[in-house]
């Protein structure tokens, strides 16, 4: 069993636990143990970064330091927000000696330091590029034959650096879905913002942005939307009725994590992929 450092992040502990649990179960099938960091803390979150970069970097770097001390060279994040912040911290520490000195001085207070040996990766990247076609296909017991899926990546999987996928038009999840036997639909809004936190601060705008994604998925004939980020998932699944009323159209569609689809294709039970946590009717998709 290959062991990779795993950073669940706050959402995946509670509201989006289905993502984390299905991810760990699916990874195990592929011979990977997602080993949760001990005593991890907030990733540093985008909001902190805009208020105090230094503090956010210290908070974020503490997680990298833990991963390093636990002997991990890779830290996997499933939440795209955590992924971007942890990566950004790693990149700044690599490239800016001043930030590095500042952060390590702060970490020293807790007898910690970070030597820059950890690479932050998104769960989707690991599943597609590390596990690969052969291994994934080898695990498929119940191919998702005939299931039309809109692969929704959100805005942060490829951005800003686009190392694992094209930043503007990512394709890795489509490939993965193909290996599972599903049919990815043409989905041009795959990397268009879901609205992010505007759903709580500017709900009209947020609903417009999420609404576009739901509408296009339906127009393209998708049976469901697959996501790779807890915030995208919530925005797309929790407000469908409200968005529908606002747009005057039915936008209901099942929204699931890509790991849940992997689990179903791998023959895991609906408990193992936490189908019961869904806010949309996923009975046809995760059955």
């Amino acid at each position: 069993m290959k062991k990779l450092g795993y950073f669940p992040g706050c959402s995946l502990m509670v509201t989006n636990r289905a993502y984390s649990i299905s991810a760990c179960n699916v990874a195990r099938q592929l011979g990977i143990e997602l080993s949760e960091l001990s005593d991890w803390n907030c990733c540093g979150a985008t909001a902190y970064l805009s208020l105090s970069e230094a503090k956010a970097f210290v908070m974020s770097a503490r997680n990298l330091a833990i991963a390093e001390s636990e002997g991990h060279d890779t830290l996997v994040a499933a939440c795209s927000g955590c992924y971007v912040v942890l990566r950004k911290t790693g990149k700044y520490l690599d490239e800016k000696p001043q930030v590095r000195a500042q952060v390590n001085a702060a970490l020293a207070a807790g007898d910690m330091s970070y030597k820059r040996t950890v690479k932050v990766r998104h769960l989707l990247d690991v599943m597609v590029n590390d596990c690969g076609e052969e291994a994934v296909k080898g695990c498929v017991k119940k191919p998702l034959q005939g299931l039309k899926v809109a692969a929704y990546y959100g805005c942060q999987v490829g951005r800003p650096f686009g190392e694992a996928d094209d930043p503007e038009f990512p394709v890795t999840m489509d490939r993965l879905l193909g290996w599972l036997g599903a049919t990815p639909v043409e989905f041009p809004v795959r990397a268009t913002c879901c609205g992010g936190l505007t759903m709580t601060t500017e709900p009209e705008l947020g609903m417009e942005m999420s609404g576009r994604i739901l509408r296009v998925a339906r127009e393209q004939g998708a049976d469901c939307i697959a996501t790779a980020c807890p915030l995208c998932q919530i925005n797309l699944e929790a407000y469908q009725d409200r968005i529908g009323r606002r747009l005057g159209a039915d936008v209901r569609i099942p929204v699931v994590y890509f790991t849940q689809l992997m689990g179903r294709a791998f023959g895991l039970s609906s408990q193992e992929v936490m189908a019961g946590d869904s806010l949309t009717d996923v009975s046809a998709v995760l059955a």
Partner: protein, 657 residues
């Protein structure tokens, strides 16, 4: 170290290039403390005549025996100073240069530390020069023939100029015909004359010229030797057609039953047969068999072409042939590739039917193309609206950082052609319009008057997701209009992606074969960006056309002619001087183990059976140093790179101040 040598040291300010970062006065004072230095001077421009005179005067008056100049890169002025030293009566190899511009002042800011570094580099040079020996240069005869690699417009121009001057030219082209990219264009900007009309006469001249040995379907595999006498190995690929017997009647490609092969020349918009000529005006007008798609080669049965060929020119057993020639100079005119629009999936190329690459559009609008010049959508209808997206992949940190120079103008040309042929509504999305050439800005203004719309803003994406009723069934171009400060969505029927020009994907391999370097953008590197635009650092190898960087037709032609002139000025000398930086083997130390012979990449070492020692053939030695590194007894020595010279230089850099 005590020495009888008398060294003169000269520190160059290079205007303020060096002086503003290096304390030249302190450096000069420091120089005076170095062993053997009897004169140290600073001067504003050492490369100027007064600067050189300074050296000459001191050699005479102060009886200097060695000279060091601290200035720019040796690539810039080593030759200048060596000549000055020689004019002063010293051997030109009793000179050493230290680079305190590119390696110091241009890359450092802290004046104190930069000066320290300059001192160390100077000390290294002064140490080294004490160990240098006088060397004599040798003269070799020149072969008055030229190899031109690549038969696009630049290579054609170079070949014709040389051939017209009475020189023998070997023109090597990879494809079955010469003509390159230009042969596929419709009109040319800004004059709108037809590309074929101006190109094909030149192609015919190449085919008929008695001084041009045209080799198509051929590739240069190896170049060895040196300026004035390069040995070239060329692989002539089997075409299965005997060009001497074939008359180009066309029966074979008319009768060939394998007809559904996407034509490379037509960008896959039309089909060709397995035995084919790329286009009707191909030069030479001789067909080739595409073995991958030929029914006979796939199944062992067919040979229809052979049956119909009256000339008995078909030869299925034909094999590749490697020919060897000797030439005095080489011109690389290997051209470019256009960026594959699939690398930018957000613009929908390959996903949407009516998103076109620029070469596809050229063929579509070309009178001899797949639609006989009609601009049509995939369903055969005429577009009512067309968007042309500039700078696709160019000026883009993630793809091509450079401006591809030709895209603005070919985009304008496309706009004009669409307007003329369809009266469609045309929208150009651009970052800046770069209409820099003669008549280009005027052409842009002509387009403005023709009613073409220009939106200043790079297109973000092409989507088919309609947000409004008028967008249904259309391709929608999304862009920020930076003049309005608003995001615009423009629904259109057809999108042309003006992709940039990039170095050929085999440019690395070609650079290796030619023994030249490439710049960061992947294109071949010229000797000097301003003063040596067609030379390379390798003497006798010249560049022409877009292999050196994106270029339009006039610039490619100019460079082709310039490269021809450079080659001519080399081969018209009957002899050339070769640098004596070669290896030599000390017979007293040589044990006769022959390791050097086995390792020499140029077969320049022979074994003398009577004396039982290895001997370097100087004319063949390229001075690569492999034998020097290999020799277990230290008998092989590299002239001007001897152990004592290198180690004294290292000591100069590393010892404490």
């Amino acid at each position: 170290m005590s020495t009888n040598e008398r060294i003169g040291v000269y520190i160059c300010h290079c205007g303020s290039n060096i002086a503003q970062t290096v304390d030249c006065a302190a450096l000069t004072e420091y120089a005076k403390t170095l062993p053997g230095v009897v004169v140290a001077k600073e001067y504003k421009y050492m490369c100027s005549d007064p600067g050189q005179d300074l050296i000459k005067k001191d050699v005479a008056e102060n009886k200097l025996t060695r000279v060091v100049v601290s200035s720019c890169s040796p690539l810039m002025h080593e030759e200048t100073f060596r000549t000055a030293v020689e004019d002063a009566g010293l051997n030109r190899f009793l000179f050493q240069m230290s680079n305190i511009r590119e390696q110091v002042s241009w890359v450092h800011k802290d004046k104190v530390r930069a000066t320290e570094k300059a001192k160390k580099l100077l000390r290294a040079a002064a140490n080294r020069v004490l160990h240098q020996r006088p060397l004599e240069r040798r003269e070799v005869p020149v072969t008055p023939e030229v190899l031109v690699v690549g038969g696009g417009i630049a290579g054609i121009e170079a070949a014709l100029r040389l051939a017209d001057a009475g020189k023998k030219v070997h023109l090597v082209e990879k494809e079955p015909t010469i003509g390159g990219h230009m042969a596929r264009f419709d009109k040319t900007f800004p004059t709108l004359d037809c590309a074929a009309c101006i190109l094909t006469p030149k192609m015919v001249s190449v085919g008929q010229h008695r001084n041009i040995n045209l080799m198509v379907c051929s590739e240069v595999e190896e170049i060895s030797g040196y300026t004035g006498s390069f040995k070239v190995k060329i692989r002539r690929k089997a075409t299965c057609v005997d060009n001497a017997s074939c008359v180009g009647c066309g029966v074979c490609w008319e009768k060939c039953p394998a007809k559904k092969i996407p034509s490379e020349f037509e960008e896959g918009l039309a089909n060709r047969t397995a035995i084919y000529i790329p286009f009707p005006q191909a030069v030479p007008k001789r067909p080739v068999i595409d073995r991958d798609n030929c029914i006979y080669f796939k199944t062992g049965k067919c040979k229809v072409c052979e049956k119909f060929c009256d000339c008995k020119a078909i030869d299925f057993e034909q094999k590749d042939e490697v020919v060897e020639i000797t030439v005095g100079a080489v011109i690389a005119a290997t051209g470019f590739e256009t960026l594959d629009p699939r690398t930018l999936p957000r613009y929908g190329y390959g996903r949407f039917d009516n998103v076109l690459s620029p070469l596809e559009f050229e063929r579509l609008t070309n009178a001899s193309g797949p639609t006989a010049g009609k601009v049509l959508l995939k369903d055969g209808s005429v577009p009512k609206s067309v968007a042309i997206l500039h700078c696709i992949g160019s000026r883009d940190e993630k793809h091509l950082k450079h401006c591809s120079r030709v895209c603005c103008m070919y985009s304008l040309k496309f706009a004009h052609l669409v307007e003329e042929k369809t009266h469609a509504e045309i929208t150009n999305f651009y970052i800046d319009i770069r209409a820099f050439g003669k008549g280009y800005e005027e052409f842009y203004h002509r387009l403005l008057k023709e009613g073409v719309t220009f939106v200043r803003g790079k297109a973000a994406e092409v989507t088919n997701v309609a947000e409004a009723p008028e967008e249904k069934g259309k391709l929608i171009v999304v862009a920020e209009d930076t003049l309005l400060g608003k995001v615009r969505r423009v629904p259109v029927d057809m999108v042309v992606l003006s992709t940039g020009l990039k170095a050929r994907s085999d440019a690395g391999h070609m650079a290796h074969v030619l023994g030249i370097s490439r710049s960061a953008d992947g294109f071949f590197l010229e000797r000097h960006p301003k003063l040596g635009p067609v030379d390379t650092p390798t003497e006798g190898i010249y560049l022409a056309g877009a292999c050196q960087g994106p270029k339009d037709i006039p610039d490619s032609v100019a460079q082709g002619a310039a490269a021809a002139a450079c080659a001519l000025s080399l081969i018209d000398r009957t002899r050339v001087v070769l640098e004596p930086v070669t290896a030599e083997i000390d017979e007293k130390l040589c044990a006769g183990c022959k390791l050097c012979i086995a390792n020499c990449p140029y077969s320049a070492i022979e074994f003398d059976e009577t004396r039982k020692v290895s001997v370097v053939t100087e004319a063949l030695c390229k001075g690569c140093g492999t034998c020097v590194a290999t020799c277990p007894s230290g008998a092989a020595r590299q002239k001007n790179f001897e152990d004592a010279q290198i180690s004294s230089e290292i000591v100069g850099i590393l010892a404490s101040m």
